[in-house]
Symmetry: D2
Subunit: 153 residues, 4 copies
Amino acid sequence: MAQLTLEERYDEKVAAHMLEFGNQMPGLQQYLGVSLVRIEAGRLWAEADLSSQEPTPSGNLHGGVIAAVLDHVTGAVVYPVIPAGHWGATTELKINYLAPVAPGLLRAEASVLGMTKRSAVVRGEAYVGDRLVAAAQGTITIVAPRVTQAVSS
Amino acid sequence: MAQLTLEERYDEKVAAHMLEFGNQMPGLQQYLGVSLVRIEAGRLWAEADLSSQEPTPSGNLHGGVIAAVLDHVTGAVVYPVIPAGHWGATTELKINYLAPVAPGLLRAEASVLGMTKRSAVVRGEAYVGDRLVAAAQGTITIVAPRVTQAVSS
Amino acid sequence: MAQLTLEERYDEKVAAHMLEFGNQMPGLQQYLGVSLVRIEAGRLWAEADLSSQEPTPSGNLHGGVIAAVLDHVTGAVVYPVIPAGHWGATTELKINYLAPVAPGLLRAEASVLGMTKRSAVVRGEAYVGDRLVAAAQGTITIVAPRVTQAVSS
Amino acid sequence: MAQLTLEERYDEKVAAHMLEFGNQMPGLQQYLGVSLVRIEAGRLWAEADLSSQEPTPSGNLHGGVIAAVLDHVTGAVVYPVIPAGHWGATTELKINYLAPVAPGLLRAEASVLGMTKRSAVVRGEAYVGDRLVAAAQGTITIVAPRVTQAVSS
C-alpha cells in the first residue's frame, strides 16, 4: 500500500489556523518568543526573539533555549499533515550545536523527512542571519485523540 | 599516557560553589526552577519545580522544557571535573522521551561516561517519582578561557 | 493502566533459545563474530571477536563495525521481553565513540530503559577490557507478525 | 576570524584520489560493497551493492549494515576538506531508519553542515531508488597526523 505524500496529507486550514492563533499560546513558546512565519506541506519556518534572554556567563544563550526552539518547530511541522484532532508527541530528538549564539533573533526551519500513520521523522535547523548554528533530527509519534498512553508507545 | 580518572579531576570546591550559588542564576535555569541538590565526581543530581509551567493542549509539559532541564544538568556535571575557569559547551545532545510528563516536580541526574582534556561524553535521566521519563546522551566540549571559537571546534 | 515490568514480560525460553541458536545465524552477525553470552530480563551481554577485522589506515577499527555490534545487541535485548513471533525493528540509534578501538575482543552490553507494547528505549555499551569505548541510545519498534509496514510506523 | 568556506578548504586531488583508489580498500567497505561515485566540496555520493547480504528473519537487511554504510560516507565526506594527512574520526552518529530495506542496491549521500579546524557536523542519507530509507546526523573530529589520542579528545 502506497504511503500518502506530504502534499496529499496537507490540510491548509490547519496551517492557516496555526499561523493565526498558534503564536498566541502561553507557556514555553511565549517565553521563547517563537512565531511561526510560513508553512508548506511538511515544511515550516519560524522566528524566535531571544534578545531578552539572559546569557550564560560565557555571554551566549543557554543551549537549552536553542533545544527548546528546535523541539518546538520540529513538533509543530507535523500538525498540518496529520488528521485533525491528532497530536504529535516528540519521541526523541538529537541536536548538534555548530556555533555559540548570542541573545538576538533566531530563525528556525523544520521539515518532514518521511512519515507513516504512526510517526514522522523530522529535521530542524536554527540560523543566525545565514549561519547555521544548530541542526536537529528526531521522531514525532502521531497520537490519536483521547488515547492516554506513553509518548513512546 | 593514561587519562586522569574522574576522582583525580574532581574539585570539591567547585562543586560546593555550584551547590551554594549555582541555583541563584537568572535566565533559563530560573525559568525552569532547577536546583542542584548533590554532586559527586562525574555525577550530579537536581530537581526542577515545573509545577507552574503551562501545559500544552495535551495536558503535558512541552518537550522543550524537559530538553532544557536535561541540557542544563548534562552541561553542569562537567564543571567540577574540568580546570577552574574552563567552561563546558554542549556540542550535541540526544533525548529520548519515555512518557508524557504533567506539570510538577521533575528529578534529573547526570553522569560523565568518559572524558579527555577536550571533551566529555555525558548521560542524563529525568524522573517523575521513580519513573524514568526521559533519557539523554551527548557531548560536552571543554573550552579554555578567553578562547573565542565555535562551540564545535 | 499499569505497564508490565520487564520481569513480567520476560520469557526465559526465548532467552535460552537465543543463547543456544542465536549465535549461529549467517550474515552480519557472523561477519562481526558476535556471540550472546548472558541474558536477563531487559539486559543482555555479548562478545564480538573483531581480531580479524581489517583496520582503517589509522590502525583502528572502522566505526561502522562498532556501530553494527551496538545495533545488533540493542536490537536483540528486546526479544525475550516481547511476545513470541513479534520482532524488533531499530527505529533510531545514536552512538558516541569514546576511544579508538584496535582489532581484538569487544564486549557489549544492552539494556531496556523503558517500554510499551509498541516500542522500547534501549541503551548499549561497548568495552575493551574495562574501558568504555562506545555508548548507544535508541528506539526499537515492536512489530506484530505478518504486518507489512514501514519500520517507523 | 572568519571560517574558511567548504570551497576554500576543498582539495580536488584528494577527491580524485578517493574516487580512484578509495574503492579498493579491504575490510568493512569491501564487505559492504561501497563505491564512492561523486565528490564535491562538502558533498559525496556513493552506492552500496547489498544484494548478496544475508537478510534477517524479517527478510530485510540488518540495520547495522545501513548504519555502517552511513558511518562510512559521513566519515569520508570530510577528507577532501581537511588538510592532507589529517584524518576524520567519527565522534558520534545518530541514525533514523525510515523504512525496511531488502537486499539490493543502496544509494548514500553525505554533506558537511558546518566545520571548524577541529570538527565537522555532517549529515547522511540512504536511498532505495528515490525513497529515503535512513537519515543520519553526526560529528567528525579532525585529527592531526601522528597524534595518538582518544577519538573524542
